[in-house]
């Protein structure tokens, strides 16, 4: 039996879990909902495991296909299938594994939510897992895009999980709109490829893409790149990711660090041959990846909020993956994808526990004393941070980052420059990782700040929380052994680095960590340096903390409460059923002049895109796109409102009516006038006779 058929089973439990939780027509309490959700969400991992081992045993060569069904549209066959190859198995197993662990964590973490909401949460998480699996396992563009959009939708609903929080909606909407723009580009690229190849099978699309004319190829590659960048929150699309952190911690851990945001990188890896054939686009890709890596790292360094720091860290780390992809090293990128998934979800999960123990604040400062309050979580955080920093030899992160750096080293003269710059980024990464861990290690009293961003269990020491942390910590430290097999599985040779490069690569994190230590030890003064200020326009940590979490939150809440000050306030339409019944109908003619609707209060509001996050002023690039988009949309829609064509129509109707009223005065009622008309009529008839 073809083991590929096992793949068909992989998304099934998650999908079933979603279906059951979403549609079962009876109420459920919290506990069964969580259990069903966790079991269904974890099951794919156990289906993926044998496939993975089979693959490591060489079962993935050549790639195998598990057909789902074939749709016939006229003369075109659209064959839906899942594919078994190195890429899909690695990504699929990672996704399902992380998913299983995060869901397990969530069982404990979400224990205090209302049953109804827990059910919704687990339903969406299950759907997400299924969607992500279909992205990773897809052997055709349809299933791929299906999963791609499902994870986007789930991301939207999960970021907006706390529906009563205004910021949740703002973050969700922002994320959704941003990624949707990228999705449109991706859809365009996929459809163009489909038209080129006459098939949706990725195995057919890639050769077709490679064989296209250069211009077409560049266009398709660029569209694909936009799609990937948007989903992966790379420059210039990165703005949505930090605001997406308003979702519950498990969501941040699974979607917005480990898996979904990395889907863009996965897309580039999946279609790597097309990029290899379009060198200019590949160069752009590498440049964007590197820029994002550096940018994200510096931003992360400046953060005072742990989740935000991790968010920027994700942006930065995925930048490394994109860099590798731009350099034509999908193996290295996938290795980093896997290892990053381990340590980043570990970081989120442990930071979640720590921040809870710190009273619910996610500020880095508030983590102080975490080592004492939650030693286990602190150790996990330390393991994750070490891996993130890429401490040489002892962490998995070092190996995967070395793979990426090696890819840069090997890319000629420019590659050396890239290597140097990415080494710098790695150093900054180590610096902020050190900052984070040192902050948590430092002694400190519990900060009882009232602004709880997460609602979760009081007791986060339960096994369902501990187990994932332990497992992920082990992977984050020892996962380095996987890098070799992954590269092997993807048929990518180990890049052999010169000794000096290895040495410098090993020293850079240490150097960075030392800088981080110095920064931490040297107090907050460095955050006030002109560099930081110039880069961010304002770097006082306390004010920043206020501005970053508290004030925008309050302001936004106020805005919602006071309604939008920019919006014209009009009385609500009276719609009570009884009143509608009583409303007079007569005088239809009179009423027609009221075609023109009362000028409804209308402004396009992509609410609070700017107001919610003053810190986003830093995001000059991102903000520019947002501002430009908002401005243009507002300009366009204001000109169109009220609906001019409509108004012109009603104006004409009124004019005809008024004219009719006017000319009807001819009918005076006097016999003589009637007779005059009659005589005139006779006269005119005679004239024409």
């Amino acid at each position: 039996m073809n083991i590929a058929y096992l793949l068909l089973l992989a998304p099934a439990p998650a999908l079933a879990g979603f279906g059951f939780l979403a549609l079962a027509p009876f109420p459920m309490t919290r506990r069964p909902a969580a259990l069903i959700g966790a079991v269904a969400g974890a099951a794919p991992f156990f289906i993926m495991l044998p496939v993975l081992f089979h693959c490591f045993g060489g079962g993935c060569d050549p790639a195998k296909i598990a057909p789902i069904m074939t749709l016939t549209f006229g003369e075109t066959d659209v064959a839906l299938a899942l594919g078994l190859d190195g890429l899909s198995v690695i990504a699929g197993t990672t996704v399902s594994g992380i998913g299983a662990l995060v869901l397990l964590y969530a069982v404990g973490y979400m224990a205090e939510e209302r049953g109804r909401d827990v059910r919704r949460f687990f339903a969406l998480m299950n759907l997400f897992v299924a969607g992500m699996l279909s992205v990773t396992l897809a052997a055709d563009s349809i299933v791929f895009f299906l999963g791609w959009e499902i994870i986007g939708l789930c991301s939207f609903f999960l970021i907006g999980y706390y529906t009563d929080r205004p910021r949740a909606l703002v973050g969700a909407r922002k994320a959704f709109v941003m990624t949707r723009i990228a999705d449109a580009a991706l859809l365009a690229a996929l459809l163009l490829l489909f038209l080129e190849a006459g098939s949706v099978r990725l195995a057919d699309l890639i050769p077709a893409g490679v064989a296209m004319t250069p211009e077409r190829q560049a266009m398709v590659a660029a569209l694909l790149l936009v799609g990937a960048l948007g989903k992966s929150a790379q420059l210039p699309f990165q703005t949505w990711l930090p605001t997406a952190m308003v979702g519950p911690t498990p969501v941040s851990a699974l979607l917005h660090s480990a898996t979904m945001v990395a889907a863009g990188a996965f897309l580039l890896a999946r279609l790597a041959p097309i990029f290899a054939a379009a060198p200019m686009v590949a160069g752009v890709t590498a440049a964007i990846g590197l820029a994002t890596a550096i940018f994200g790292a510096i931003c992360a360094l400046a953060q005072t909020d742990a989740k935000q720091m991790l968010a920027y860290s994700s942006i930065s780390q995925i930048g490394f993956m994109v860099l590798a992809l731009g350099l034509g090293a999908p193996g290295a990128a996938m290795a980093h994808f896997v290892i990053h998934a381990f340590f980043k979800s570990l970081l989120f999960l442990s930071a979640g526990v720590l921040s809870h123990s710190a009273g619910g604040s996610t500020a880095i400062r508030a983590l102080a004393g975490g080592s004492a309050r939650a030693p286990m979580a602190f150790l996990a955080l330390a393991a994750g941070a070490a891996s993130l920093a890429g401490l040489p030899f002892v962490t998995a992160g070092w190996y995967s980052k070395e793979a990426v750096l090696a890819a840069a080293w090997d890319a000629g003269v420019i590659g050396k420059l890239l290597w140097l710059l990415s080494l710098g980024a790695a150093a900054v990464t180590a610096a902020y990782a050190a900052r984070l861990i040192l902050a948590a290690a430092a002694p400190g009293a519990m900060n009882a700040a009232p602004n709880t961003d997460d609602r979760h269990s009081d007791d986060l020491a339960r096994p369902s929380i501990r187990a994932p942390l332990v497992a992920l910590a082990i992977l984050a430290l020892l996962g380095g052994v996987l890098v070799g097999p992954i590269l092997h599985l993807l048929h990518e040779a180990h890049h052999d680095l010169a000794f000096i490069a290895v040495a410098l690569g090993a020293i850079a994190p240490l150097l960075g960590a030392w800088v981080g230590y110095r920064l931490h030890a040297g107090g907050d003064a460095w955050l006030h340096t002109p560099f930081m200020r110039d880069a961010r326009r304002g770097g006082q940590v306390d004010a920043r903390y206020q501005a970053f979490v508290v004030r925008p939150f309050r302001r936004f809440k106020n805005r919602i409460a006071r309604a939008d000050p920019f919006e014209i306030r009009l009385p609500m339409p009276k719609v009570a059923a009884a009143e509608a019944e009583a409303a007079p109908i007569g005088g239809l003619l009179r009423r027609i002049s009221r075609w023109r609707r009362a000028r409804r209060p209308i402004r396009i509001r992509l609410p609070g895109w700017r107001a919610a996050e003053p810190v986003a002023r830093l995001d000059l690039v991102g903000q520019a796109t947002v501002s430009a988009g908002t401005f243009i949309t507002r300009l366009a829609t204001r000109a169109l409102q009220p609906d001019r064509i409509d108004v012109a129509g009603t104006g004409a109707a009124r004019a005809v009516g008024g004219f009719a009223e006017f000319v009807r005065r001819v009918q005076t009622g006097r016999v003589r006038d009637y007779l005059f008309a009659l005589a005139l009529g006779v006269g005119v008839l005679l004239l024409f006779a």
Partner: protein, 107 residues
């Protein structure tokens, strides 16, 4: 025996009658005057029929004249009855009571 020129002359004369009546109808406001104008107007086809009958040597012209005459008589009777009735109503109100006054139905 009558020529085409003479026919046209007579037709023009009957046209004059028609126009005189029309002028009266349009310019007069008294009901009685309008009735007189109507009678004048009906004189026009009468003359025209007779003239045309003579021109064609055809009895149909005089036949039609008889019918026109019946119509004129009927209209005079009906019109004068209406006039008397309207006059009665106007007199009750104390007004002069011409056709301009009865213009309640309009627009």
């Amino acid at each position: 025996m009558m020529g085409g020129t003479m026919l046209i002359a007579l037709l023009a004369a009957s046209g004059g009658l028609f126009v005189a009546g029309a002028f009266g109808l349009v310019s007069r406001r008294g009901v009685l005057f309008q009735l007189i104008s109507i009678e004048i107007m009906l004189g026009a086809p009468a003359l025209a029929f007779i003239a045309a009958g003579a021109y064609h040597g055809n009895a149909a012209g005089q036949g039609m004249y008889v019918l026109v005459l019946a119509l004129a008589a009927a209209e005079a009777a009906l019109g004068l009855a209406l006039y008397v009735r309207l006059r009665r109503g106007a007199a009750a109100e104390g007004s002069v009571g011409d056709s301009d006054g009865i213009s309640e139905l309009k627009r």
